[in-house]
């Protein structure tokens, strides 16, 4: 009985719309009847205990789940008016529009410069001027420019964990996506680096639609505009973050956010 604020269900400027999404790993159902809309240029957090399907859901938005053969998906996800599970949809094209940042930072064993422009290179952009500009813009946007501007051509492997994660964000920004998915981006970082990334997310909000999965409820409260609580593959509650954390309508949500459960 997903109890969702009707106002949220019909967000006027929704960029991602999920309609009756059901997802199965083989026979096991991982997501059931998810329907929700994500507002454009806002930060939406997905919270819930481990195994509730947050990561599975977020990975539907850029069809990362395609890599797993046993998965079957029913329902539709509409991004910018296009059902991304439509047979006509090209997953490669989609992933250029929907970027992703992973839990474990994964810079490529290349220079910082090459890491940032990887997405452009594979799209066939080779104009040095454009590449240079993109590197500077993206690194500045990801608040890491000052730390690396003197060693752009050094290996990205020499950076610290937090720097690497911000580099990954810069790499995602470089291809100018509409949506950025973040799958627990801070869970392996120390508090100082976490604070920097959170600050960064707040800054990106307004220009990009960000969907972030997090285990950390304080984090969700700090960075997001909207929060959805998932439990056992179902959407339990979805509303303005402030509302979810102050006056949750559902008992499960209240139990979870007050720490009585989870």
């Amino acid at each position: 009985m997903p109890q969702t604020n009707p106002a949220i269900r019909q967000i006027s400027d929704a960029i991602v719309e999920v309609n009756n999404l059901n997802l199965f790993y083989g026979d096991k159902q991982a997501l059931s009847n998810i329907s929700m809309s994500f507002p454009r240029n806002k930060v939406t957090a997905l919270i819930g205990p481990s195994g509730c399907g947050k990561s599975t859901l977020i990975r539907c938005f850029n069809r990362m789940n395609d890599l797993i053969e046993t998965i079957s998906i029913k329902g539709e996800i509409i991004i910018d008016g296009q059902n991304i599970y439509d047979t006509k949809m090209d997953a490669i094209e989609l992933r250029r529009r929907v970027g992703m940042v992973f839990q474990k930072w994964n810079p490529f064993p290349k220079s910082i410069y090459e890491n940032v422009i990887y997405g452009l290179r594979i799209a066939g952009v080779n104009n040095k001027k454009i590449l240079d500009e993109t590197v500077e813009k993206s690194l500045k946007r990801a608040a890491i420019w000052d730390e690396v501007k003197d060693r752009l051509h050094d290996s990205a492997m020499g950076l610290s964990g937090g720097q690497m994660q911000r580099l990954c964000i810069a790499r995602a920004i470089a291809v100018e996506p509409e949506v950025i998915l973040m799958d627990e981006p801070c869970s392996a970082l120390d508090p100082r680096s976490t604070a920097k990334i959170e600050e960064l997310i707040r800054e990106l909000q307004g220009d990009y639609t960000i969907i972030i999965v997090t285990h950390n409820m304080q984090q969700a409260a700090r960075v997001s505009d909207f929060t959805a609580y998932l439990y056992l593959g179902e959407l339990i509650e979805y509303d303005l973050t402030k509302k979810v954390f102050t006056t949750p309508t559902q008992k499960e949500t209240e139990d979870y956010i007050t720490g009585r459960f989870g």
Binding site: M64, R95, N106, P109, R171
Partner: protein, 534 residues
Amino acid sequence: MKQFWRRGEPFIWATGLSLSAIICMTVILIAVVVINGMTVFWPYKLVEFTLSGGEKYLGEISRSEKEDGILTKIQLKIGNRDLYSLDFKWFDQGEINSQKYPVKAIALERMEYGNFYGYLQSIKIPGQLSSASSSNYANITSLKKALESLEPLQHKKEALEEDITDINFEVERLHHKLAGLRYKKIPEHDRRIQALLLEEASLQTQFNKIVSKNQAIENQLHQYTAIFRSADNREITIKLHEIVRAYEPNAMSLLEKTGHYFSKIVELFLDDPRESNTEGGLFPAIFGTISLVFLMSLLSFPLGVIAGIYLREYAKEGLLVQTVRIAVNNLAGIPSIVYGIFGLGFFVYGIGGNLDQLFFPERLPTPTFGTGGILWASLTLGLLTVPVVIVATEEALGAITPGIREGSLALGSTKFQTLLRLLLPMASPGILTGFILAMARAAGEVAPLMITGVVKLAPSLPLDGQFPFVHFDRKFMHLGFHIYDIGFQSPNVEAAKPMVYVTTLLLILIVLSMCSVAIHLRNKMRTRYAISDV
């Protein structure tokens, strides 16, 4: 005591012990090869034994036997195979009356009959009769001078012989063309056949001219001789052009000995073998080994890497892929001779035989590709080493964290782009490791070669100045086979023994140097594509 077992001390000891046992054996093996191989070319002193019966023998001490620390038996390399018919002789310490190191003792390396040990008597040079008759006292300097004076003649002879080979090659080509025309049932009086016959006739006259020229030079060479005396006072006349090298080891300074040593090493690398491979150089075998490994790599490396990529990246995991994987792993365990037989049946008779039928029917029954050759041998070796490359590629690709793939795909790259831009470069150190193993295995493999094209003595290299320059159909020499051949198939195994050590050392060095190039490349890749785990 309980603590002792719980900490696993015995186990730690066992690990250390087994490692040291392995290191010990390897070091001993390498040391034996290196020590024996390095000392072969050193000019040892010549000793003259006078036996109690009065007989005298001159030679190099090659071995000795001790009993309770007392020298009992000594083996001399007495050389002079044409006189004694044996190169080596054992002496009981008791029967040796006296021994000395005569300064004038001379050692000759000859084109035939092995070494000669004895004393120089006189030198006969046409037109210079005086030096021979005036005194019996000819010395090594004059001998060396005489040998030097022969060099221009010998170079001329070599040049002529090269011309003969070239003409032979031309004639053979003409014959092939002729046979081709005749095979097409073109009548004898046809213009083309007549032209070829004419050309052949002109080549024949040219050939005869060169042969007679060569004969003249040879006659001239025969006139240069020297008389030597063996330790037991027998006189022997040796033609100077049959002497490869003359030296007086007992009179040589350390510097001269070192010079001698290095000139022998240069000969080893650059010259052809002599005396059924027990003397001279190893150039054709070195060349054969390297080109074989090179050709093998050209086949097995791309094939193995591509197959490995398919298995790991594209094939759907399932029973079939599992079976293929097991089969590939088992391929590495098949005895190499089986690969040889397969190579003979499939490549040589199958593909080679069909190529002959298709392209060279006029030459049959003389086979062109339907017989062992360097191409078939390297294909066989490629087959033998490809599993190693496949397994290494698969492992290397599998070891890359999934995060890299996901990260790349999430940026909108295709699987192929990910593979090309990230996975292959990152897997390259692992792939190169497999390649190194494959190369080392291929260089040391002998059994499959023996039935797919290796020979004791190849008349020409697989790469030379004759059109089309690369001759994949040719037979070749190989260091590994060389070891087997001179060590176990030679008529004079004792005399060949030093060469076995040298050849082994050389083979090890070649494998080592080829591998170190690959290892260097691998280390470069490793530092370049290292993933740090901060």
